[in-house]
Amino acid sequence: MLASQPFEALRSKKPMSDSVIQTHQNAGEVLALDGVSLTVNGKTLLHDISVHSEAQGTTLIMGANGAGKSLLMKCLHGLLTPTSGSIKLLNRPSHETRHQQAMVFQKPVLLRRTVMGNLTFAAPKTTPPEVLHEMLERVNLSGKDQQPARVLSGGEQQRLALARALLTRPKILFLDEPTASLDPASVLIIERLIQEATADGVKSIFISHDIGQAKRLADDVIFLHQGRVTEHTSAATFFTQPLTSQAQAYLAGDVVL
């Protein structure tokens, strides 16, 4: 899927300025980023990102490889500290809401213990066993609770990782390409769980390259290009009328550099 005119797109239109996609600060804000920049080894990877959103549901972060999606997510979740700028989640500084956040990584990180051992490690100590078993059932892993976690298939491992994340009862759930290269059944289960969680009032922030999945799940979309947010709109708008040429090219399957 090589681009027909990748560089022309870049030259012809300037990225949107941040002011266009900003909404006004509000007491009910779930997400509030102001001037977030990240510089690593002298290289600025995230440029002056400001995003405000009161939207519940699922926010999708899209963009080409290397655009800074994972870095932005890690900054939001507090795994990375931005070089400058401020991040607020649920109206409070990100680190204060740490216990209300959970994350599922692209490559599931499972402890060297049983399936159940992985759940009890993360779940609050008071979690009753029935809840744990019920969660295993929801991710279609019941009966595997005593199996070593790391011998599960890739799809099973990611389902377990999601189950573990959900057991911490997060208010915000970060998912970094959780279904990349998984079997369709696992993708289905994971998508269903995310939808159920969202229905329960969990805010999920999601990275995906799968446009079909994005359309199924996303309520709003943040589009990143070269470390800058160039677009933040509702999903409906983004997929039908993308504002920037980069987003248009990305959705068309063109190479955007």
């Binding site: 740490r98 994350m103 490690f121 070593p148 011998v151």
Partner: protein
């Protein structure tokens, strides 16, 4: 000579020679004591070094890796100078005792176990760091988790330390003195028999020591295969 040594080794074991078992038992006692102390010292060192960030960390790792190659004779000499009656710890009267041998072996194998543990922990930390950060696990809880999750790899590191301890002669002969019925262990007995020209007996003792090493290694292999089956390595 080899066949001779083998039949002597078998005969020695079969005869239940009390002197052989005294020496073998002291070897095991000294080296397991040294191992126990080294593990208590080395695992926290390796773990803390792996999971913490501080200026000079790389220097520490380099020093630790270099210490792995400490020649036993040098360790023996250093411990001798410390424990000698005219040395700083001379008042303890520990020179030429099994305790002195334990101390020498601790000095010898603690860096080995710590450096190997550091490698294991560093790999594990790279894998787990973001998950733990995400789950809000502090280092008080992270350290036992790392130790537990690295248990199979650590067993291998620890047994490597044991192998080094039980097979070295340079340090224990200096600080132990190879005193009959007091500080004579397998390796110093081998050195003594060699110097008496009793090469077959020396080799027979060597074969018995080798059998012990084989047992230990069989243990390592079993542990590893269990771990592999569970994908716990």
């Amino acid at each position: 000579m080899l066949f001779d040594a083998f039949s002597q080794a078998v005969a020695l074991i079969m005869s239940g020679d009390p002197e052989l078992f005294e020496i073998l038992w002291l070897s095991i006692q000294v080296s397991t004591s040294a191992l126990a102390i080294s593990v208590i010292l080395a695992l926290p060192i390796g773990t803390v070094l792996a999971i913490s960030e501080f200026p000079g960390k790389r220097l520490c790792v380099t020093v630790l890796n270099s210490l792995m190659g400490l020649p036993p004779v040098v360790v023996g000499l250093l411990v001798y100078l410390m424990l000698s009656r005219s040395g700083p710890l001379g008042v303890l009267g520990l020179l030429y005792t099994p305790t002195a041998m334990v101390i020498a072996q601790v000095v010898l194998i603690t860096p080995i176990i710590a450096a190997l543990a550091y490698q294991v922990m560093d790999d594990l930390h790279r894998e787990y760091r973001e998950l733990f950060q995400s789950l809000g696990i502090d280092s008080i809880r992270a350290i036992p988790t790392y130790l537990w999750d690295a248990r199979y790899s650590l067993v291998t590191s620890i047994l490597a330390g044991f192998g080094r301890a039980i097979s070295e002669v340079g340090a224990v002969i200096i600080v132990g003195g190879n005193i009959d019925h007091l500080t004579r262990v397998m390796t110093t007995a081998i050195a003594l028999e060699t110097s008496k020209g009793e090469l077959a007996i020396a080799l027979a003792l060597g074969i018995i020591l080798l059998m012990l090493a084989l047992l230990v290694n069989a243990g390592v292999t079993t542990v590893r295969s269990i771990a592999l089956k569970k994908a716990y390595v």
